[in-house]
Symmetry: C2
Subunit: 342 residues, 2 copies
DNA sequence: CAGACAAATGGTAGCGCTACCATGACTGGC
DNA sequence: GCCAGTCATGGTAGCGCTACCATTTGTCTG
């Protein structure tokens, strides 16, 4: 039919092929696909028929080049395997599954430098929006976000100074609430056990410390932390360290639920009664917390909702109506369970 | 300087700006960036200086359009929160972090139709490679993979008929090995407990069944499954169901470790001695299996390595030297622990 | 020293799409 | 019935980059 398929390109149908087949101009095909309302119903039908017949799929690269805007959401998280971020990402995916937007995830490995590098890479694509975990960007990363030319949502935490928008909650309040709960339950020698100690963990620790100081019970020897990535087995080890330091320990607030589970298992192993001798509180409230024996008190966080909400805000901003509320605090909920019921 | 910044584009430096500043042709800049060996050292240095000074970052969309090939790895997994796939994805990310390739993850939600849709979307970008979980693509999805025009790696499982390449292991053998271990330990009324029951779970079940039939002990009432997504709490519930059906149950092979953990907790709650009254075997060997009390026997799978290996094979194929071994079986390892030590 | 050949560089012409700016056909008000 | 104001459609000119094909220079052969 055509006298010569162009040398490059895989011979896939282009918008020009569709236009020819439908007997319209290329630009009308483009419009029919992106702004159907601006094309008469007749032509729309013809074009759709041509699209179906040819199996035409628009080339997103050409689209991005021509419009100087890629239909991509850039998402930056510090870890892919940590269930917490996986849930946020799942929320983002589910919210975007019916939209034309693709998603590109970057793994910063909890490194500010890596975050900068990824922002550079992501920015070069002119993404439609950026969603980044945390509020502690390096100055250079912050500048990249400010100049990204697209909506930016910082997630997981709230803070006073958003680049653009924020969805999260106060980790400091979460830590304080968890610790106050232990205090109210009558525990006194309450330890803090934390792994990784990223900025959010630091703020949970700060909340713990505030509560303990208010009660006049803070003692630095009660705090056991490590920069090592969190795991259940690490929770067990850290708990043993903590007990070695302070044998009279009668409660622990754990950085997260993996650590808490490790503590519980070690209590079983050492025949320490939970909650009688040791009270345990976790953070995030993973599904297993309510099932364990005994079930474990934890601070429930709304991770999936953080993902869906951040997308909703970004989409609104893209559509031109930026939410008037730029900082959304989704809060948390203390789930009281057997591990602190004494 | 330039008489008029083009109306479109964000005013970011382009390859022409770099070329002008370095006093060379645009194409030479392009080469210096992509095939440094073909440009003299002098020019390379000049060009690098211009790139640094201008802060030039190539536009991946323009690059993809011009070269009919995007530097993107498309990755299709059925779930983002399931730790198993998260580990595979982490391996992929780590292997690709120093390469120019970006990664795009698609979440199929265990749906063949969704997989087809995503393959369509991914294919429209002309990705550099595709990595897909599983070997049970729909005929239409399989056709899309065959016509993708790029290396394809099917991961998680091995099978007889790869689209292109495969990295995984035999879930059937894994299930059989786990069950045989329980039999050797002296358990007789061994149940199978499974959630989600995707094709891989089905094959683990088939392995269980094969082992039980060989021993002359298979009984359909020993099998308890549900299509519901897996979780620790579900494991607990399914175990109660299984016990209600067969009160003399003395062992369980669990679909995965979440289920196994749920079973363990229910045993604690019901004061069933593990391993004396009930033997438990999990699948995947998550970190917590070795820490739990008692520790849980599990089939260790090499998820991270599946990710790294699949990338290595794809990169080799892109570089033009397709591995001669197109099917790589990474095997598994039975980790014997307290939960079956009677 | 002519001719052949490789290495280094550049010019031109798109890749497939959309922004921008016409154009023509209507509609409605006075 | 004329003019402004819509609406539907199309043409043209790029977006920023690279494939392809020169062109130039230097090096080697006989």
């Amino acid at each position: 039919m055509s006298k010569a398929r162009s040398r490059r390109g895989g011979g896939r149908p282009t918008i020009a092929d569709v236009a020819r087949k439908a007997g319209v101009g290329a630009i009308t095909v483009s419009r029919a696909l992106r702004e159907p309302g601006r094309v008469s119903e007749d032509l729309r039908r013809q074009i759709q028929a041509a699209v179906d017949e040819l199996g035409y799929v628009p080339d997103p690269n050409a689209r991005a080049l021509a419009s100087a805007r890629a239909e991509v959401f850039g998402v930056l998280v510090p870890s892919l395997t940590n269930n917490v971020f996986a849930e946020v990402v799942r929320g983002i995916y589910d919210s975007l599954s019916d939209s034309p937007f693709r998603i590109q995830i970057g793994n910063t490995h909890y490194s500010g430098l890596e975050e900068e590098r990824l922002l550079q890479v992501f920015g070069s694509q002119r993404p439609a929006a950026l969603i980044v975990a945390g509020i502690d960007q390096t100055p250079s990363a912050r500048r990249l976000l400010e100049n990204a030319g697209c909506p930016v949502v910082q997630v997981m935490e709230t803070g006073p100074d958003p680049v653009d928008m924020m969805v999260g909650f106060s980790h400091l309040d979460g830590g304080r609430t968890a610790t106050e709960h232990l205090l109210q339950a009558g525990y006194r020698k309450i330890g803090f056990i934390g792994a990784r100690m990223d900025p959010r963990s630091q703020r949970r620790l700060a909340g713990y410390r505030a509560a303990m100081e208010t009660a006049g019970l803070f003692d630095p020897r009660l705090v056991t932390t490590t920069p090592v990535p969190s795991s259940v087995s690490l929770g067990r080890e850290l708990f043993r360290d903590a007990l070695a330091k302070v044998p009279t320990l009668d409660g622990v607030f754990c950085n997260n639920d993996d650590i808490a589970l490790g503590v519980l298992f070690e209590c079983h192993r050492a025949s320490l009664d939970v909650p009688k001798q040791i009270g345990i509180v976790g953070f995030n409230d993973l599904d297993m917390m309510q099932v364990s024996f005994p079930s474990i008190t934890s601070v429930r966080t709304h991770r999936y909702e953080i993902g869906t909400r951040s997308v909703a805000m970004a989409l609104a901003a893209i559509a031109g109506n930026r939410p008037e509320q730029r900082i959304v605090d989704l809060g948390f909920e203390l789930m009281r369970r057997e591990s602190t019921a004494r």
